[in-house]
């Protein structure tokens, strides 16, 4: 167990709590830089996807995991980012401007969707965002002159300052760098008053208000930031996929994003990265494992959703904190070996909720 003797208040607000953490994150950074030399082109491309999805999940985590506003329409924000990028790029905007613009357009959409969040909460909010997802998908289909409708839209090659980023390795570096910047931004948010206000709203709106937190302002901010992150990811996604069609941003995509976040572990930044990473690894297993299974099972169309469904149910039942929770337990086990006890992470039931003022 690592006990830190604190002598300065700075130690309470640093991102890395001790030398060990600094060491391991530095090692991880090195591994990410070295990855293109070790991994095959295909694996690297999967890593790029994980990076892109990690950015969306980061945004969704901020919204669902830290502010308590569950969105079932996040694919809509992804679409806003992707189509903005595709459209602006085709009109000759440089990536350095079109990427922030994608984030901005998605962010503004986020504010518009966040407005009902001021009136409805919980389940009803989810339904509202779900409806928004459907509307946006339909808008994308109809606005043919911008989006190309159901036929889809081609996305041009990504060239920044004369360097071609369509090449797998360069694009991997670009995505990784943006993902790291986004993670740092969200971590900064969470250790500052804005992040604490989000958490306060999640845990008790009533007392958040009585602490002087403007619910309307912070809920909208959470939606805007979350959507902007999805917009950034959408722009990168557009360049990765090269042809974007409305059905890529449908209801199923929103559900998948939410599932990634829940599997990763609601309420943890690590979870937002574990989630998509786990998703792509399992997907890979399913694709390769298919051939080994008897054809009656292996060739079934619903194989992948079924497996992910089972995983989700298992996580909700046995590990509500998701993969991050599992990791936390494993780490504690190693740290205090051999004193780990089974009930250490057992959560106390609260019986005080019945009289809560809603």
């Amino acid at each position: 167990m690592h006990f830190i003797f604190k002598t300065r208040y700075e130690q309470d607000i640093t991102l890395f709590r001790h030398g060990g953490q600094r060491f391991w994150y530095a090692a991880l950074a090195l591994a990410l830089v070295a990855a293109p030399w070790v991994l095959s082109e295909y694996t690297l491309s999967q890593f790029t996807f994980i990076g892109i999805y990690a950015i969306v999940c980061l945004g969704l985590m901020l919204l669902a995991g830290f502010t308590g506003q569950v969105s079932l329409g996040h694919a809509g924000f992804l679409a806003m980012g992707a189509y903005t990028e595709a459209y602006l790029q085709a009109n000759g905007w440089p990536f350095m401007i079109s990427l922030p613009m994608s984030a901005l357009v998605a962010g503004i959409t986020g504010i518009m969707i966040g407005l009902p969040a001021l009136r409805v909460r919980g389940m009803y909010l989810s339904i509202a965002t779900l409806a928004f997802g459907f509307i946006l998908e339909e808008v994308v289909v109809q606005a043919e002159h911008i989006t190309g409708g159901n036929a889809g839209r081609q996305v041009g090659a990504l060239i920044i300052g004369g360097i071609n980023f369509d090449d797998g390795v360069n694009f991997y570096y670009l995505v990784t760098a943006i993902a790291v910047l986004c993670i740092l931004g969200v971590l900064n948010l969470l250790r500052s008053p804005t992040g604490r206000a989000f958490v306060a709203i999640r845990d008790s709106e009533v007392s958040a208000q009585s602490m002087g937190i403007n619910l309307a302002h912070y809920k909208t901010t959470a939606f805007a930031i979350s959507a902007a992150l999805a917009g950034i990811a959408g722009a990168l996604y557009a360049h990765k996929i090269r042809i974007i069609t409305p059905d890529q941003f449908g209801f199923l995509q929103s559900i998948e994003l939410l599932m990634m976040v829940v599997i990763g572990g609601l309420g943890s930044i690590q979870g937002a990265i574990f989630g998509p990473a786990f998703w792509f690894v399992v997907q890979q297993f399913i694709v390769t494992g298919k051939d080994w299974l008897p054809p009656a099972i292996g060739q079934q169309t619903g194989l992948q959703p079924t497996i992910f469904g089972i995983i989700l149910i298992a996580i909700v039942l046995f590990e509500p904190m998701g993969l991050y929770g599992r990791w936390l337990k494993f780490r504690t086990f190693l740290e205090i070996f051999p004193f780990y006890r089974k009930g250490m992470f057992k959560r106390q039931k609260s019986y005080m909720k019945s009289e809560r003022m809603k």
Binding site: A200, Q209, M352
Partner: protein
């Protein structure tokens, strides 16, 4: 004559057919401990919710230092320097004690989210200052031990103190305590009494509290307002109120004819 710190003027609130608070008026003077007592359903907590603007009055108004606050949104009322605790503890469960207390400093922030995202120098300086101010409260209420504990794992008695600490972190001028001693054992109640006295004397904060423990009420209160069924029974010193026949009747029931 100075203006009262808080003034309730002909305050009424109606929920459907129920008159929860009916034409209640009282004034709270700076630096006093003012208690609200009464049987269950007397409207004590409702008055608290009216003061912190979680409810809107059907008639009448609440003034804080002469300014009408009963039409403001709750977060604006909090910014005027009114802090409160809740009967059933409304802490931020999945955060540490320290984070809970830091939320208390929220009113005093002056950075925007974009600065927070970049964690600029001014955010860092403000954070260190908040941290230092919160430490004063931790020391005041002896919470050093629990600084980094998650609230969800803390025993009831400690949570109660954490909630008080969170309210004090706001450095309020008026503190509303909703049943500070409920669920506490004798020793913890004793401590709570000392703290309320210190809050009044050392920190100079005016306190309004709802309390059932008459021992605590008579120990710390300067004046007591007794309520029953949303109406004022009597107002006076703890001794006067306890001796008032109406109060005795409200608690014990009148003589049947």
């Amino acid at each position: 004559m100075t203006t009262p710190m808080l003034e309730a003027v002909n305050l009424s609130v109606r929920f459907g057919g129920l008159m929860a608070v009916n034409d209640v008026s009282f004034s709270v003077w700076p630096n006093e401990v003012f208690s609200l007592i009464g049987p269950n359903g007397a409207g004590k907590t409702t008055i608290f919710n009216l003061i912190s603007a979680l409810y809107r009055p059907t008639a009448g108004e609440v003034r804080f230092e002469g300014e009408v606050i009963s039409r403001m949104p709750p977060h604006v009322v909090a910014r005027h320097g009114i802090a409160r605790t809740f009967q059933n503890i409304e802490l931020f469960e999945h955060a540490t004690v320290l984070q809970n207390l830091l939320v208390g400093r929220h009113c005093h922030r002056h950075t925007g989210w974009w600065q927070d995202m970049l964690f600029t120098g001014s955010v860092r300086r403000a954070e260190l200052e908040f941290r230092r101010q919160v430490e004063e409260v931790i020391e005041f209420l002896d919470l050093q031990h629990y600084r980094d504990s998650m609230v969800a794992g803390l025993p009831y008695g400690v949570r109660k103190v954490v909630e008080l600490a969170r309210a004090l972190s706001m450095r309020p001028r008026l503190l509303l305590l909703d049943e500070p001693s409920s669920g506490l054992n004798t020793e913890e109640t004793e401590d709570m009494g000392f703290w309320i006295e210190d809050i009044k004397q050392d920190l100079g904060i005016t306190v309004i509290m709802v309390e059932h423990d008459m021992g605590l009420v008579s120990r710390v209160s300067d004046r007591v307002l007794a309520l029953n069924l949303g109406e004022v029974l009597t107002l006076g010193t703890p001794q006067e109120v306890q001796a008032h026949p109406g109060v005795i009747e409200a608690y014990l029931g009148g003589v049947e004819e």
